[in-house]
Symmetry: C2
Subunit: 210 residues, 2 copies
DNA sequence: TTTATAATCTAATCTTGATTCAATTATGGC
DNA sequence: GCCATAATTGAATCAAGATTAGATTATAAA
């Protein structure tokens, strides 16, 4: 036998992070493989050793951002605190994820479109099956993410903590407001991530108060 | 002399609308000039008679969507009704604009990025000056749009209709929630535009209630 | 009608970038 | 040290699509 793919995992993650940064700066199509490669001191060709093609790299960026966020929010949602506390903590975690990783946050808004547009039939996505499968899985995770918020709102309504509202739409409103933070947030801005989170919590929890 | 550019304006508007539709379906980069041209039974080359290049066409799509929306919201904001009524009407108008013209609504979210990425220095934008100028003007209009919401919230706070909040952030939250509607809204969905608007109004006005 | 200009079209260009290839170098396990 | 595999690379491909060029056609105004 031979070498173990020891540090490969590290490199792979580095590339994903770099890609997220470049993506935030230029958007999917305006981002070249060369741009991404340059960030990690590689050539474009080298990226193909780690990712089948540009589409898979985009997918990796989005998967990473979403799964990290889900990892922090899921446990909160599953805890058995009052809905109101859970929702507050979930909002804080979401805003925190977005403001701490603005690149991923913005990608989650802007690059989703690019992901949908990938012509799965075409070229290198070879087994369009593999790509399609992973992409579908990603969108399911995304739905799951939204569902966590929706269900928490419903929970609060049914146990009398919140006033009755259309939980599905209110959840979408919340996510829209949060995602938008990823679009305008600047680390150098007037407010820190925590402060923005506090305002979001105040806004939505008040909106749900009985 | 000769022919008056009689129907040109009409054609131009048709092209813009068609472009907005295609853009919503595929996104800026995945949209080819040929795709857009096909919608209005023209060839790609013909589009260059109406628009200097693809970037200008994108700009035209965004300008049109925004100015139409501003046209409906501005008079409301400038009226002298209670802030609460104005804000409600503004939200209704915004959601209505988005759900009635989903293509423009989505473009306002997704394609803004493409607009920012335009390499003004490059090629055909010739006088990058002209393009840059119009683009800057567009972004100013966009800020103005946001300011209308922000100011109305402030107004309500200062005249005691609303509780004190960070008006700038709350306004951004509202716009994020609204814009997001353009992303998920489907004419065939469970709720009509009006119903969605009612929920948004209920949510944000409640959040501001004293 | 004539005529100038608007609108279009077809058939090239021309660029840009993704992707592929064949070759080279590095490294962990034996 | 030797080997198999991982990592990378520079130098081609190759395709897609925006844009341009050179006609051609349509139409309003005189």
């Amino acid at each position: 036998m031979a070498r173990k793919p020891a540090d490969q995992a590290v490199h792979r993650d580095d590339i994903i992070k770099a890609a997220a940064d470049v993506l935030r700066e230029h958007g999917y199509d305006a981002t070249t493989m060369k741009d991404i490669a340059a960030r990690v001191n590689l050539t474009a060709a080298s990226l193909y050793h780690h990712f089948k093609n540009k589409d898979f790299l985009l997918l990796a960026v989005l998967e990473r951002g979403l799964s990290l966020t889900i990892a922090t929010i899921e446990p909160i949602q599953q805890s058995d605190k009052p809905a109101r506390d859970k929702l507050s903590a979930m909002i804080a975690a979401h805003i925190n994820a977005i403001t701490s990783h603005p690149a991923s946050g913005a990608a989650m808004v802007f690059e989703i479109k690019a992901l949908m547009n990938v012509n799965t039939a075409a070229r290198g996505n070879g087994d369009s099956s593999e790509f399609t499968k992973r992409r579908d899985a990603f969108f399911e995770q995304r739905d799951y993410f939204e569902a966590m918020f929706r269900e928490t709102v419903k929970e609060g309504i049914s146990n009398g903590e919140f006033r009755p509202v259309d939980a599905a739409i209110v959840a979408k409103a919340m996510l829209g407001a949060h995602n938008w933070v990823g679009v305008w947030y600047k680390a150098s801005g007037r407010l820190a991530g925590d402060e923005i989170a506090a305002i979001m919590i105040d806004t939505f929890v008040t909106a749900l108060k009985k």
